[in-house]
C-alpha cells in the first residue's frame, strides 16, 4: 500500500469517528429536548383546569382536527423512513423524492396547526386568557417550532443532496435529521394523549 493510500484511509477513519461522535452528541441533545418537553407537559397538566372563567379545553379542542394532524405527522415519519432506506441503497433521486413528500406533510401539519391557533385566538382563546391557554400554547407551540425547524432542515437536505451527493457527512446529517423528525412524532404522541384526548372528555 502506498503512503497516500494509507493517508486517505486514515482520513476516512477520522471522518467516520468524527461523524459518529456527532451522532452521539445529537442523541444527547435529543434527550435534553425530551426533558424540556416533559417539563412543559408537567406545566400543562398542572394548569390545564385553570381556565380563569374563560374557554375550557372542551370549548376549544376539535378531535377531528387533532386526528388530521396526527395522521400527517405519522405518515411523514414513514416517508422519512423511506428516504433513509433509499439512502442506504444509494438512490439519491429517491431520497430527494421522499424528502419532498415529507416536507410537504410537515408543511401540511404546520398549516393545520396555524389554522387551529388562529381560530382559537380569533374566538378569544389566546395565550393571554388563562393559565390553561398559556400552557397549551407554550407546549404545542414549542412542538410546532421544532417541526418548523425540522422542515427547514429537510429543505436544506433537498438542496444539499444534489449538490454534494450522498457523501458520508451528508448521510450523517440526514440520519441525524431523521432522529429529530421521529423524535418530534414521539412528542406528538404525548401531546394528543395528554392535551387533546383528556381535554375533550
Amino acid at each position: 500500500m502506498t503512503d497516500t493510500a494509507m493517508a486517505s484511509d486514515l482520513l476516512e477513519e477520522e471522518e467516520k469517528k468524527s461523524l459518529l461522535s456527532r451522532e452521539f452528541g445529537f442523541w444527547v441533545y435529543l434527550m435534553t429536548d425530551a426533558i424540556i418537553f416533559a417539563l412543559l407537559f408537567a406545566t400543562y397538566v398542572v394548569l390545564s383546569k385553570n381556565s380563569a372563567a374563560g374557554p375550557t379545553s372542551k370549548d376549544v379542542f376539535d378531535l377531528r382536527h387533532t386526528a388530521g394532524e396526527t395522521a400527517l405527522l405519522l405518515i411523514s415519519s414513514l416517508t422519512f423512513g423511506m428516504a433513509t432506506i433509499a439512502m442506504a441503497r444509494g438512490l439519491s433521486g429517491r431520497v430527494i423524492m421522499w424528502l419532498v413528500v415529507t416536507a410537504l406533510l410537515g408543511v401540511g401539519f404546520l398549516a393545520m396547526e396555524m389554522m387551529e391557533f388562529h381560530g382559537m385566538i380569533a374566538k378569544g382563546a389566546g395565550p393571554d386568557v388563562s393559565g390553561f391557554l398559556s400552557a397549551f400554547f407554550t407546549l404545542v407551540g414549542t412542538h410546532g417550532l421544532h417541526v418548523t425547524f425540522g422542515t427547514l432542515g429537510i429543505l436544506v437536505m433537498i438542496v444539499q443532496i444534489p449538490l454534494k451527493g450522498l457523501t458520508p457527512p451528508v448521510r450523517s446529517r440526514l440520519l441525524r435529521l431523521g432522529l429529530f423528525w421521529h423524535f418530534l412524532d414521539i412528542v406528538w404522541i404525548g401531546i394528543f394523549s395528554v392535551v387533546y384526548l383528556p381535554g375533550v372528555m
Partner: protein, 101 residues
C-alpha cells in the same frame, strides 16, 4: 445511530401499522365514549407508552444489541430525570392543590 442495521421497508411498515392501531384505540374510545372515568385515562396512557416504544424500536431502531451502550445510557438517564422532575412537580402541585381546597 447504527449504519449497518438493515433498514428494511417492512420494519417501517410494521411500525407504521402498529402506530396506527395504537392511535386509533384511544381516539376511538374517546370519540365513541366507550369507557368512562379513570379507565379511559388508563387506556390512553397504556396506548401512548406502547406507541412510544413502537416508535423507538421501529423508527429510531433502538435495540439492546446494535445501539451503542452510551446512547441507551443517556436515554435511561433522561428517563430518570423526567420521572424525578415531572413526578416530583406533579406530586407537589397536586398536594398543594388538595390542601388549598
Amino acid at each position: 445511530m447504527n449504519h449497518s442495521a438493515e433498514r428494511s421497508v417492512s420494519t417501517y411498515l410494521t411500525g407504521f401499522v402498529l402506530a396506527i392501531i395504537l392511535t386509533a384505540i384511544p381516539f376511538g374510545i374517546v370519540w365513541g365514549g366507550l369507557l368512562t372515568g379513570t379507565a379511559v385515562y388508563g387506556v390512553i396512557a397504556v396506548a401512548a407508552i406502547l406507541q412510544v416504544l413502537v416508535h423507538l424500536v421501529f423508527f429510531l431502531h433502538l435495540d439492546l444489541k446494535s445501539t451503542p451502550a452510551e446512547n441507551l445510557f443517556f436515554l435511561g438517564f433522561a428517563a430518570v430525570l423526567i420521572v424525578i422532575m415531572v413526578g416530583g412537580s406533579l406530586w407537589i402541585m397536586f398536594d398543594l392543590h388538595h390542601r388549598m381546597m
